[in-house]
Amino acid sequence: MPNVAVLTNDLQYEFTHKISTDAQELDRMIKQFNVFLDGIRAASQVVVHLQLIHDPNDPQVQRRYRGRAIPAIGGTPGNQLIADVVHPSDVVVVKGRDSGFYETKLHDTLQDLGVSTVVVTGLQTHVCVQTTAADAFFRGYKVWVPEDCVFSPKPEDTKRALDWMAGYCATIAPSSEILARLSTSDDLPGRGEEAAA
């Protein structure tokens, strides 16, 4: 059973412009992202894709997008997960809010899998990644965030969010370090555990 789950946030076609608006750059970044996911799968850990689907009849959603088109409507082509990042062994959990845990089956799914550590990735760093990381921390998971696998259109938003997560709830590290650790161990240490030891 896996100890570690990589949670991807909102890797859906309609949001790829938040990773990069340049097609070649986007392709390169997705390939690099897949190197990490493949490494996770090879280490017998699990990948969980959090797919954002808004309920257009939800008053909170209507209020949030008042005057604008509501994004992430289920069934639309843009709402689909990027096919290149999804593997048959992966798990998909639908969410309707920023945090992947908010009124979803994510926590139960992770508990059923035996997961104690989550690695939060995807976009946007200062919205869904940040809230999902905080929510995971509150639920008792060890939280890691690979700094090269999280995306916001503005680099300063990513930096501020990473600083916040490092200060409160997560261990920030390059994805290569996470893979290296999982090549020698079947789990990742908690925040501050190594320093304490």
Partner: protein, 359 residues
């Protein structure tokens, strides 16, 4: 003892809508629930039944009240909170607690409330009755009676599910407390965490993940306030405020301005839940500006400050009470915070509404 009125009317022509009123779990409020006809009467009956023994009206045009004194406190407040129902409360609870607390911080003993509902057609009946039941429970907890009320139903889009107005009457059985009694040298206390209510609601609105760890503090504070005022000599508690809209910042500025003094408080002394601080930091908002629904700010003479703190901490709503600062003489009103490194920061009053519809 009392006579009262819970009346009903509609903001539109809804005669055809009566047939659209669905029964059972999916039942919703329709315009005809407010037209004054049979459906209106049935809605009022359901509301009064739900209120149970906290409602002492007799369905006449006014509540006739007997009061033990001719010194009363009288207040009103309107509530437009979103989301309507949250983890540990709802707009009904807030509507009762808010008005009870406004009476209690004046030094009054709250006795009677009115409860007026403006309902948007289409609101689930189950949600409406849940809110009314919460109002009942909060009234019971506070020891007040609901003596009159009103329901209005407006069309879809003319309100946001439910707005509530409550008015309240309390009796003054001891010298009143007032911001005008504040003087240099007095100590400032908070009865509990600040920021929790706002963070809780914001987290639900956006699905941030803090809502299970940071609950609303909404509660009636009248019993705790009574315990304080009963225990110390009259005049020793100069002023009381429930720290609602505008947050602690607004309360401190109100007092500094009213008596032209300086207020100094220490950042490290502020009772702030770690998770609330995390959320505020993430959202880029200042906890000092956040609305609360169950937190009290007290200005007291220094010789009773320890006693007041001990009394607060005996109450479940005051177990995290703390000294946060004191009033100082000054040539102009100002509010200053002692930072963690000992430096002083002037805290400016918020110009506009940073966060709407939290109460």
């Amino acid at each position: 003892m009392t006579t009262a009125h819970l009346q009903s009317s509609s903001g539109g022509n809804g005669s055809a809508a009566a047939s659209a009123a669905r029964q059972g779990p999916g039942e919703t409020v329709v315009l005809d629930h407010g037209t004054g006809a049979k459906l209106s009467r049935e809605l009022v009956e359901r509301i009064s039944e739900t209120l149970g023994d906290t409602y002492v009206g007799t369905m006449e045009d006014s509540a006739l009240l007997e009061l033990p004194t001719n010194r009363i406190a009288f207040t009103t407040d309107s509530f437009v909170v979103t989301p309507l129902i949250f983890e540990n409360g709802d707009i009904g609870k807030i509507a009762v607690c808010g008005t009870v607390n406004d009476l209690a911080v004046s030094g009054a003993r709250p006795l009677y409330l009115t409860l007026s509902l403006i309902i948007e057609a289409g609101m689930p009946m189950a949600d409406l009755l849940k809110v009314v039941a919460s109002a009942r429970d909060a009234a019971r907890l506070a020891g007040v009676k609901i003596v009159a009320g009103d329901t209005k139903v407006v069309g879809k889009g003319e309100a946001d599910q439910l707005f509530i107005n409550t008015a309240g009457v309390g009796v003054l059985e001891r010298p009143s407390v007032s911001v005008r009694n504040v003087r240099p040298g007095q100590k400032i206390l908070l009865s509990g965490y600040i920021g929790n209510h706002s963070i809780h609601l914001l987290s639900i609105r956006e699905g941030l993940g803090f809502e299970r760890n940071v609950l609303s503090d909404c509660a009636p504070l009248n019993h705790m306030i009574d315990a304080v005022l009963r225990s110390v000599p009259a005049g020793k508690v100069a002023s009381l405020r429930d720290v609602t809209r505008g947050g602690l910042c607004a309360v401190l500025h109100e007092h500094a301005r009213a008596v032209n003094c300086a207020i100094r408080f220490e950042k490290k002394a502020l009772p702030i839940l770690m998770e609330a601080a995390m959320a505020a930091d993430m959202l880029g908002i200042n906890v000092l500006h956040l609305a609360n629904e169950g937190c009290l700010c007290l200005f007291v003479e220094p010789d009773v400050a320890d006693q007041v703190l001990a009394i607060l901490r005996e109450d479940p709503c005051g177990e995290n009470a703390a000294f946060i600062g004191e009033v100082e003489a000054s040539s102009r009103p100002e509010v200053r915070m002692v930072e963690l490194d000992g430096t002083l920061t002037t805290i400016e009053e918020l110009y506009g509404a940073e966060l709407p519809r939290l109460c």
